[in-house]
């Protein structure tokens, strides 16, 4: 499914990461594998350290910390927010929507639209598409897209296939009208037939969480996890990505009448370095134009990896420079989505730490 948008832009980008950091080398004893085996994996898929929330910290806490920072600094006017989208797989509650919790805590206007989207690693792209759709309404002039997840709280610390790769983070992107008439191209594909490839089996109403589902057991892949924990079929997801993403990007560039070498940066979701190097090779993109070092510095924080890649790679340079970027997210659903747009001239583009001592009340 293809989309086009005009006269819209990303006006600012902020990423919030917990200051609490854990190093992979310090976790080897937690895993059911020889140390030499874990060490080899470190070099291949690019794991080194990751940022994790401390106990009790929710995705909304990271988001509120960043939003208050922007409001206090005058980079975001609360009364100008017409739409608030929160993309998360780790909401505060089943109900109410966590976007409403954020709206209430910030004291935002009641004349606005709060929307939770249950999306994962494709969530920045999907959130941008949803936000740009909102901006097509005359009554909506500014949308705050928040991507926030605390996936490490869902993962077994004894699961070497997932835990050392994951991280926690939030990002805030300001979406607003632009005088620039350049077309933003986007596309989206969903394959619900593969919904079990990335999932947390228990904890919903299909399989409520019980002492049995919480029980950690030895899985066939040699890791210890329970049904309450995050689980990913790594090879199936790798194949989904390698098969689906190249034609998705070809379709995007074709509809935009843009050559591969006209794109300055390919800012893709970052599950691990190995997968991205294979993807760059398959696409015929120089590896240096498709950054792949987010996981080794911060961990994979689901939909936040794309804004993290942008701020980590380009940072404040995006307040002055403008680049043609291809964004692409892929993951839970299974979902994949990409956008081709100009990003630059931002009012802010930065990353900040969320202090471990920070406490948010319910």
């Amino acid at each position: 499914m293809n989309f086009t948008f005009r006269n819209m832009r990303i006006g600012g980008l902020l990423v919030v990461v917990p200051e609490n950091e854990s190093r992979y080398a310090d976790e080897w004893d937690n895993y059911n594998f020889p140390v030499a085996n874990s060490r080899k994996l470190q070099n291949v898929i690019g794991i080194d350290r990751h940022r994790l929330v401390t106990e009790g910290t929710c995705a909304s806490d990271l988001a509120l910390f960043g939003l208050r920072h922007l409001i206090d600094r005058g980079d975001l006017q609360p009364d100008e927010i017409d739409g608030l989208i929160l993309v998360t797989e780790t909401p505060d509650y089943f109900m109410p929507p966590t976007s409403s919790v954020i709206q209430g805590k910030l004291g935002l206007s009641q004349d606005m639209w709060c929307l939770d989207l249950n999306q994962g690693c494709a969530g920045f792209a999907v959130g941008l598409i949803q936000g740009f759709m909102m901006l097509q309404q005359e009554s909506i002039n500014r949308v705050v897209l928040v991507n926030a997840d605390t996936l490490t709280r869902t993962c077994s610390p004894q699961d070497r296939n997932a835990y050392p790769l994951l991280g926690d983070a939030a990002s805030i992107a300001i979406l607003e009208p632009s005088a620039d008439p350049a077309t933003i191209h986007a596309n989206l594909q969903m394959d619900g037939a593969q919904h079990e490839k990335i999932m947390i089996p228990a904890g919903g109403f299909r399989l409520p969480s019980t002492p049995d589902t919480a029980q950690v057991e030895l899985a066939s892949d040699g890791n210890y996890r329970g049904q309450d924990h995050y689980h990913m079929d790594g090879i199936a997801v790798l194949n989904f990505v390698q098969n689906q993403i190249p034609p998705l990007i070809e379709n995007l560039l074709s509809t935009a009448a843009t050559r591969l070498d006209e794109v300055d940066w390919f800012m893709f979701h970052q599950p691990n370095r190995f997968m991205l190097e294979k993807l760059a090779d398959k696409l015929g993109v120089p590896r240096k134009k498709l950054p792949n070092d987010v996981v080794e510095h911060y961990g994979n924080a689901s939909s936040v990896t794309i804004p993290t890649a942008i701020t980590h790679t380009l940072g404040a340079g995006l307040t002055e420079n403008t680049y043609k970027m291809c964004l692409c997210g892929f993951g839970v659903g299974l979902t994949c989505s990409s956008l081709l747009l100009q990003i630059g001239g931002l009012r802010f583009c930065e990353m900040m730490d969320y202090p471990s001592a920070q406490q948010e009340t319910a």
């Binding site: 080899k40 994996l41 066939s220 892949d221 194949n239 390698q242 691990n272 294979k278 090779d281 398959k282």
Partner: protein, 80 residues
């Protein structure tokens, strides 16, 4: 045993020194290799033979035995 199969055996032994691959007819169903091991194995094979195995070829059925791995390498011009 050819030089290729010897090399594959030695890479597997380095990857999972505690595992006995000789008694297995399917490394995956027998739990000797998981998805992260396959990633490590592909990286080792890429480096050893100066190739880049495509992501679309990283399928479980290509990593069930030394024979299937050798067949996959044959696709990339690595002679058995």
């Amino acid at each position: 045993m050819t030089e290729l199969t010897q090399t594959i055996h030695s890479i597997l032994a380095e990857l999972r020194p505690e595992a006995d691959f000789s008694m297995s007819v399917d490394y995956l169903t027998d739990g000797l290799l998981d998805s992260t091991d396959i990633v490590s194995l592909v990286a080792s094979l890429d480096a050893r033979y100066g190739i880049s195995i495509e992501g679309t070829d990283i399928l479980p059925e290509h990593f069930t035995s030394v024979a299937t791995i050798a067949r996959l390498l044959g696709k990339y011009g690595v002679a058995s």
